[in-house]
Symmetry: C2
Subunit: 355 residues, 2 copies
């Protein structure tokens, strides 16, 4: 290795076109097209392996005779306390849900804290207690962690990175690359609540009816589904950053299929719809933290829906569309007026730092 | 949950005494007494479980019939490129070494990036390539990750959090709580190089002889030791944040024993010793990223030392002291002049943000 300036490295074979003045922009972290490009062209290129290349939010990997589901996420939500939750609870649910989306049982969590100098100790304590309570609700154990402090102005209150480890005991492939033409698309409940709750707090807005984050542990909803319907469940993903639109596009691209959805089938609370309308935000792109999308075999869809609706977290679940062969990667939606429009991947973010 | 301001939580049973004006300070992240207090009194209190309570840098936990070693660390080193390495390489070696210190074989790594808006893409690419190369050298696979971007002034170029997962196949307890009176303390090589390398770059200092970081993958050094000497190895830990002094104090406190070391036995490069002297830094407290301490059964110490010295990473290994019953938690050192002094845990940091 070398002293400064670092040796110029050979970027000739890096598929990310880099000009000397190119820099990271907010959109690279927003879950849209810019994020996808960075991941595919830099991280996938460099770290290239089967688990990573599936581009699910978790990796399913063999270890010592077992099959593990592993997921990691950094949480940088601003503000750290918001209606319905806080960064600590989010850091537990977010990662536990990603682990669970492989049909795994989440078991362990690690937690690494990057704290800005000057954070009130009461705030940190409140967050830690919130993590403890969320972990108990998820029945996961926080087994190890790390604490770093950065000077004032070099961080933003608190960033938390959690990594979750779960066990996969079923033999099925549940992956965003596993959608089949003919599948039904199920959405587990009403959308856009988390993003609107964070936004309202950050911008000091008051909606007529307060909107609360939907942050929740999805494993209890998922577990009996996988046990009962196994191979009938082709893909599951929680619709966080980038919202329902991002997940549907990831599904369509990952499985090289088309997806058609019906706008009228998508559950949304009136308060959330009106808040989105007022701000010109499309709720399809707004983050959720306790809602998931499934692609399931058509002949099991009604039974799966019935079982989901029997659980509090799935009581508003709905079949919102289906999977078609051809038009690979394309997501389209029939609007309330009956016309069809493309549900594209946004280039950048409408709401940064919502998770 | 509630809208702002968050509900006051009951901190009455929290053992961390919190006044309303108490805030996080740089020392809380420096690996000294303030960090220990925060971990013991907040995180351990809240997350209380057997794996965490051991306070090793990794957790050894059962999963589905296997025994895993899991570790997580956030890397916030400033600057991100320094003589002998960069933040990417550090984020791989640091976590892989923690996993290996349980005598485990590191297998998988996750990587979460918090990037400050405006970071040159060439810098990110250079770091990612460095991670790829380090992961190959460690024979670990980076299976999943996350990318977040924070606005300019809300981060500092790049923070990376890695989590490592390894398999423990031996039946022995290797832990900082497992030192035995009579043990010999072995140090694997010369100290304080990483901290001095980072400091020199950050402060724009030029030493007569340049000091390079010692960042390295310790697993190849550790693996044959555990296989050959098994139960003869009682504890291992890499001497990162807080240096050799911090690890010895963690060992002594964790096992309720005393440790006596000889200053003259501690290997240090002349250039590093003179740089430390010039700056008034005690090299015992300066971070390493490729050096480890072991506490081993006295009757195997010479054989272990011989095997370590046969490996390039252990060629300067030395027995630097021994473990005594009584004087629980106390680390003392006989200086070059023959007198004894206490090697205490520093309250705060001498060098912030070196990892």
């Amino acid at each position: 290795m070398s002293d400064s300036p670092p040796e110029p490295i050979d970027l000739a074979d890096c598929p990310l076109p880099i000009a000397p003045h190119d820099t990271i922009q907010m959109g690279h972290g927003a879950g849209g097209r810019m994020t996808q490009s960075l991941i595919s062209r830099l991280f996938r290129w460099a770290f290239d392996n089967e688990a990573l290349n599936k581009l699910d939010d978790m990796a399913v990997v063999p270890l010592d005779g077992s099959k593990l589901s592993v997921s990691t996420d950094s949480f940088v939500v601003d503000p750290i306390f918001f209606p319905g939750g806080d960064i600590g609870e989010l850091a537990v649910y977010g990662t536990v849900n990603d682990v669970a989306m492989a049909g795994a049982r989440p078991v362990y969590l690690t937690a690494a804290f990057i704290i800005e100098e000057g954070l009130p100790l009461t705030d940190l304590t409140r967050v830690v207690i919130s993590m403890r309570d969320a972990a108990r609700r998820c029945d996961v154990t926080i087994i190890t962690g790390d604490t770093k402090v950065v000077p004032k102005g070099k961080g933003d209150k608190l960033f938390i990175t959690t990594t979750g480890i779960g066990v996969v005991t079923h033999p099925h492939t549940i992956s965003g690359s596993n959608l089949q033409p003919g599948d039904k698309i199920i959405l587990s409940g009403s959308i856009a609540e988390h993003g609107m709750a964070v936004l309202s707090k950050r911008e000091g807005m008051r909606f007529e009816i307060p909107v609360e984050s939907d942050a929740a542990n999805l494993h209890p909803l998922v577990c009996p589904l996988v046990r009962t319907f196994g191979a009938g469940i082709h893909a599951m993903r929680d619709a966080t950053r980038g919202g329902v639109a991002a997940v549907l596009n990831e599904f369509a691209a990952g499985s090289k299929v088309g997806i058609r959805i019906q706008e009228q089938a998508i559950p949304i609370l009136p308060a959330v719809a009106s808040a989105c309308g007022m701000l010109g935000l499309d709720p399809l792109y707004v983050a959720n933290e306790g809602k998931m999308l499934l692609s399931v075999a058509a002949d099991r869809a009604d039974q799966i829906l019935t079982m989901m609706r029997a659980h509090p977290l799935g009581k508003n679940a709905a079949i919102i569309g289906d999977v078609v062969a051809g038009s690979a990667g394309l997501v389209s939606m029939q609007t309330l007026l009956g016309s069809w429009r493309i549900v594209d991947v946004p280039l950048s973010e409408q709401l940064p730092r919502i998770c």
